[in-house]
Amino acid sequence: MDCCRNKRSIFSYFKNGISKSQCDEREKQSKKRKLVLVGTPNVGKSVIFNYLTGSYVTVSNYPGTTVEVSRGTSKIGNELYEVIDTPGMYSLIPITEEERVTRTLLLEEEPDIVVHVVDAKNLERMLPLTLQLIEAGLPVMLVVNMMDEAERIGRTIDIEKLSRILGIPVAATAAAINRGMTEFKRKVAEYGEKRAA
């Protein structure tokens, strides 16, 4: 994949296109760890991407806004991470071209951490993908996003317990209002260290 064609969410390409020199730099820094964001469309992957990388990809309340893969860099803990935002995927078995892109990326990029972002209100539809990712032996961690909206419909989720049952780190966030994001970042750093050890 051509690294300079990044940030291609529908509108924002021109603004954030990474310059050529940055691209070269990125290729040189093969030591950087890789973090891939995956999940169903419209669960907040792009908001989290923007938070981590400090750049801007268009965020909408509209599924499928991210049509191409975006890349950025983030310092998490003491490590530099290459953060990759992917088009939505529903299952490990791809149906659309966009889903195929994401699966191929998971296969070929050898990520250090795969962050599966899910909507707290729709856990029952989204957790099957988590199971598939764990089953595939990928280094998964789960972000249960939109906690505020889940709470509004009276739903409480025992995050600790979920983490224990799944055997992976789980963070609870409301990314749009910046809740739980520091904690999420801390968990990423911790998980990254553990995996590197």
Binding site: I10, F11, S12, Y13, F14, K15, T40, P41, N42, Y56, T58, V59, S60, N61, Y62, P63, G64, V67, L92, I93, P94, I95, T96, E97, R100, L107, E108, E110, K121, L123, E124, L127, P128, L131, Q132, I134, E135, A136, G137, L138, E149, I153, G154, R155, T156, I157, D158, I159, K161, L162, I165, L166, G167, A176
Partner: protein, 490 residues
Amino acid sequence: MARKEPLEYHDFNTHRNFNEIEKAARDIEVLLKSDYRLSKRSIALLLLQEDEEITALVRRKEKDFDTIDKIIQKTRKACPEPLQYLITLERQSKVDRILREVISAREKRESSFEQWLDDITIKPLTGVPLLFLVLYFGLYKFVGQFGAGTVVDFIEGNIFEAYVNPWINHIVVSLIPYKPIQQLLALDYGIITLGIRYAVAIILPIVGTFFLVFSIIEDSGYLPRLALLVDRVFKKIGLNGRAVIPMTLGFGCDTMATLVSRTLETRRERIIATLLLALAIPCSAQLGVILALLSGRPYAMGVWVGFILLVFLFIGYLTAKILPGERPSFYMEVPPLRMPKISNVLEKTFSRMQWYFLEIVPMFILASVLIWFGKMTGLFDMIVHALAPVMNAMGLPEKAAEAFLFGFFRRDYGAAGLYDLQKSGALNGVQMVVASATLTLFVPCIAQFSIMVKERGVKTALAIVGFIVPFAFISGVALNWVLNTLGVTL
């Protein structure tokens, strides 16, 4: 990868066939000798679920694929339902089990107000009027009247006409003695006085207000509901509900909308959308001028709307029939309605405006140069003259050709030409409708065309324009003929 497998499904088989699937998966796992990056268990399950890519991969990598294939076939025969379905079912029941332990639900349903709002956006009976309200207030009132009217008048009249243009003209005339160069830079058709002025004074306010409205609508979650609403109509013309996005965007700016059509799933859909945008969707600027042009004559406006709608549906239907390829299925998450966040809306609006502005300025400079060149060489008048017979066939005066020529540079510029003609009393009602309709259908502006080339390729873009130009004029002739034959006066 020595991960403990906490999620094997066999320990709680809810389905009588699951032991068989579990056994098959284990047998296949043993037979997989190569490295796949994904775990062997995952590969085995994907094989059982007939994933094409993985099957091809394993066939390539494993010598003993035949044995694996035999296991797959045997298991498939033994199970009454597709394996993918069974595995999905099993996985879902595992998920439900987990969630029963972690979710404590005193779940309230959505508040009745939200539920109600949700319902009325999707049901045709209320959804369609609601759509018209959104279009009327969002597009017509705010973008058309406030953006394209008030704001444009202010920047154009109070800033450019009053200060910038006289100032630039004065400087250019006093510094450069050579007349053609003066005209290239300033005066009536100059790069600064026409090109830049158009970009800053006309386009920026229109797209700015439009992007603002669009960002709000987008963040509220209304679009997926709109997509559901029009899905059925759009299916008939070979598009699915998702195409609503570029089509709505088209009413703001067709250039932008053509770009966004890349979110559509198949190439076929993208071509149909590009064609319909170029043909039958007037952009906000053009729409504004045409609305102003016909506003005094409601019947004329009715004929115009009806005619364009007819062309849109007819051509859409026709291309869907002609173009080969599968019809897209529509699958979209419907997110909850949310209150848009002001900071997100503003950030999005500005980043879009910035992008658009950078994209459009070179186009305007180019247009200025071309018009200058045409005027200088007399090419312009020649083409206008050559178009006279076509104008005659549509029952229009020769001078109307100028409007069509301008229309290629900017859709609204063409409409503005008609506006001048009408003010001078040169057009009657029928002529105005014919001219407006033809101009709406007539070629995309330069910017849109260049994006068409960029997104769909030169061949497709030329083919589309090659179809549109004669089609627009033939439609104009036909409309003129029908109206005259029926003896309609508008």
